[in-house]
């Protein structure tokens, strides 16, 4: 298998034992990345009446959640019952399933840092990449984004909104990366050697319990470098060989076991 190697490899280590499932990361992501709230009516579309309403937020299979928190259960009944929460951004796979399938190179992994890009103006909306990604990290714009009156004033100025009909996904708040590099240049520092904390995605920044640690997996000065090697660390679906840049950790074995399939006995 051919894998592109990068000097810098941005990654996350998410401590599931610290995650309370509060969903702050999901909200921070939506605000940072200009994901419009779902509204039933479109005041600008005069023929909507002829078809059906747009979806509102209760259709969970149509919402856009670049960061999505899943609930895990150990499957036992009270009093042994336990739950855990697993926030799922795009894994920025080392061997992404989505990149080679895109017919128009609208998604690529070719930039230092190893973040898998998504080029909205080029995406034709075929959704082949969605079919390819086993983590369900990709989302389609089913409707044009609409911000209720006044809310449009809070859009993040650096992040482009997306039109109907294209696919989008988490990009580790790429605009923050660009900003951090610019800042480093202004300060006369090396943009290719950012200090820990100079670049942090919105979800990691907001997490009230500090469950998400973010940094360069290849940089020994960054915490994630060590954390990813913890005996409690694992990645999702490692057997499929996509080599995610997002790691999870948990001291609970049942949680780690849910990171992959073991139904055929553990042959790996």
């Amino acid at each position: 298998m051919h894998m592109k190697e990068f000097k810098i490899k941005w990654g996350m280590v998410i401590d599931i034992d610290k995650c309370t499932g509060c969903g702050a990361c999901m909200v921070a992501c939506q605000v940072e990345n200009n994901i419009a709230p779902m509204t039933k009516k479109d005041p600008y579309n005069y023929v909507q009446a002829l078809t059906k309403d747009r979806d509102d937020a209760d259709n969970k299979l149509r919402t856009l959640t670049w960061m999505n928190v899943y609930e895990l259960s150990n499957g036992k009944s009270f009093p042994e019952h336990e739950v855990a929460y697993l926030p799922r951004p795009c894994m920025q796979c080392g061997n992404p399933a989505c990149v080679p399938v895109c017919p128009v190179v609208a998604t690529d992994k070719n930039e230092e840092g190893g973040i898998v890009s998504q080029i909205y103006p080029r995406c034709i909306g075929c959704r082949y990449c969605m079919a390819a990604c086993p983590y369900h990290a990709r989302y389609f714009n089913w409707w044009d984004p609409l911000w209720p009156e006044g809310m449009d004033k809070q859009l993040s100025p650096a992040v482009s909104p997306r039109p109907r009909g294209v696919v989008e996904k988490c990009n580790f708040c790429h605009t923050r990366y660009a900003k951090a590099k610019d800042q480093a240049r202004e300060n006369g520092e090396d943009p290719m050697n950012l200090a820990e904390g100079a670049y942090v995605p919105a979800c990691a920044e907001i997490c009230p319990s500090g469950a998400i640690t973010f940094g360069d997996l290849n940089n020994p000065e960054h915490k994630v470098h060590e954390l990813a090697k913890s005996p409690h660390a694992f990645r999702l679906l490692e057997k499929l060989g996509l080599h995610p840049q997002v790691y999870y950790m948990s001291k609970r074995e049942w949680v780690r076991k849910q990171g992959d399939n073991y139904n055929a006995g553990d042959k790996h």
Binding site: V47, L50, T51, R54, D55, N59, L61, R62, Y70, L72, L86, N95, A97, P100, V101, C102, P103, V104, V105, A106, R122, C123, I124, G125, C126, R127, Y128, M130, A131, A132, C133, P134, Y135, H136, R138, F140, N141, W142, W143, R164, G165, V166, V167, L236, L237, K239, L240, G241, L242, K257, Q258, D260, N261, Y262, N263, A264, G265, D266, K267, H268
Partner: protein
């Protein structure tokens, strides 16, 4: 009223009757057109697709009609390249059916992609590693080839053909048809394969992922062979349906049985390989990623019954029926086998499209069941209605069946 336009020496129903029939079909067409306009205007939010099922009825429909339309290239290959003369009695029909299937699939694809205005990006920014790029290339090119094959038939229309230039043009196109048949075979084999390759390369989707040969996963080859194993008999079914509708004999039974034999042979090869492939997948690949055969199925919608229907009832059975001469030579049995064969390939395309993405790879995720909504159904029906219209017009005005006169008016 329009009898001067009919092919030489045959009879057709009255113009009034034809008009009523056309309006009947047109009603379905318009219903679908309404759905299509909604999709283009309001977006595919109007469909039943969602973030878990980015592919659904439309892609299944495309893949199925493209497989069933394979009669065109394969029959063309046998007739023009391998020179099986018999097949010239049905070749026109295979071309028309192929043309309908491919142009229909392309129409559905333009609805299906979120940004139809960017459809040409496949040529402008092609990703040469993507199977879908290859599909876009070959389908558009092959559709052009089918148009080139269809045009001489239109030029042979009785009145048109009186114009000396058109007559000469039609003749010249016919002379060079072997070239296009060869080109068509090449293009067609590749994209039939790439459609299968599309699923086989999905490393993240254990239901579909397959090892393979060089850059081609096994599904690449399976899709090619299953298409040539069903396309020819689909043409036979269309032909028989037309005979029932018009009350005339259009193609002699010998030719149909020959088509059955050809498809049957390919189907036998296919079923054999498909069983091997399924076996290797279930016992080799799946355990290597921690999964079992049972994990791949769920409930009724994604149950094992579907796989057995596909491989046994609609695979092994019709294969036997088609290769045993005494069964194949009984019309009712030939048509039954043909029908099963076509259903089998459709189920195959369906499970590879929908079940592949329905399987929850993450252990804490769950199965969802996908239902197409009326918008998807209506737009698919529109394509079927479009096919009926093209066929009706071609039958009425073009010399599609060289044997018709001989079989009916002697």
């Amino acid at each position: 009223m329009d009898s001067k336009l009919f092919p030489e020496g045959v009879q057709r129903c009255s113009f009034g009757k034809f008009l009523i029939w056309s309006c009947f079909i047109l009603a379905f067409f318009l219903w679908g057109l309404y759905a299509a306009v909604l999709v283009l205007y309001n977006g595919i939010g109007t469909t039943g697709l969602d973030n878990y099922f980015g592919f659904g009825l439309w892609i299944t429909f495309d893949l199925a009609v493209i497989a069933l339309g394979a009669g065109a290239f394969f029959t063309g290959f046998l007739k023009y390249i391998l020179k099986i003369k018999q097949l010239e009695k049905i070749i026109n029909l295979t071309v028309i059916v192929g043309f309908i299937c491919y142009s229909g699939a392309m129409l559905v694809l333009t609805l299906d992609i979120g940004q139809p205005g960017r459809a040409w990006f496949g040529y402008w920014h092609p990703n040469v590693h993507s199977m879908l790029t290859e599909v876009i290339f070959c389908i558009t090119c092959y559709c052009t080839v089918l148009i080139i094959e269809y045009v001489p038939l239109i030029l042979e229309q009785k009145q048109l053909n009186k114009v000396p230039f058109i007559h000469a043009l039609a003749h010249n196109m016919h002379v060079n048809m072997a070239l296009f048949a060869g080109l068509g075979t090449f293009l067609s084999t590749f994209h039939q394969g790439s459609l299968g390759g599309m699923y086989g390369v999905l490393i993240g989707r254990p239901y579909a992922f397959r090892e393979g040969f060089f850059i081609w996963p096994w599904t690449f080859f399976l899709f090619v062979i299953s298409a040539v194993g069903s396309g020819p008999v689909f043409t036979v079914l269309v032909c028989t349906f037309m005979e029932k509708l018009t009350g005339k004999k259009l193609v002699e039974y010998k030719v149909k049985a020959l088509m059955g034999k050809i498809a049957g042979t390919m189907l036998t090869v296919y079923v054999f390989l498909k069983i091997l492939d399924t076996w290797a997948w279930a016992t080799g690949y799946l355990p290597s990623v921690g999964l079992t055969f049972d994990d791949m199925f769920y409930g009724v919608a994604y149950g094992k019954w579907m796989m057995f229907t596909e491989i046994v009832l609609c695979g092994v059975l019709p294969a036997i029926m088609l290769i045993v001469p005494s069964i194949r030579n009984k019309p009712a049995l030939l048509y039954t086998a043909a029908l099963l064969d076509c259903i089998g390939v459709t189920i195959n395309r369906y499970v590879f499209t929908v079940q592949t993405i329905a399987f929850p790879a993450m252990p804490f995720d769950k199965w969802y069941v996908y239902y197409p909504n009326w918008v998807e159904w209506a737009s698919s029906v529109m394509i079927v209605a479009y096919g009926f219209l093209v066929l009706s017009l071609s039958y009425r005005y073009l010399p599609v069946f060289p044997q018709e006169r001989h079989l009916n008016y002697k």
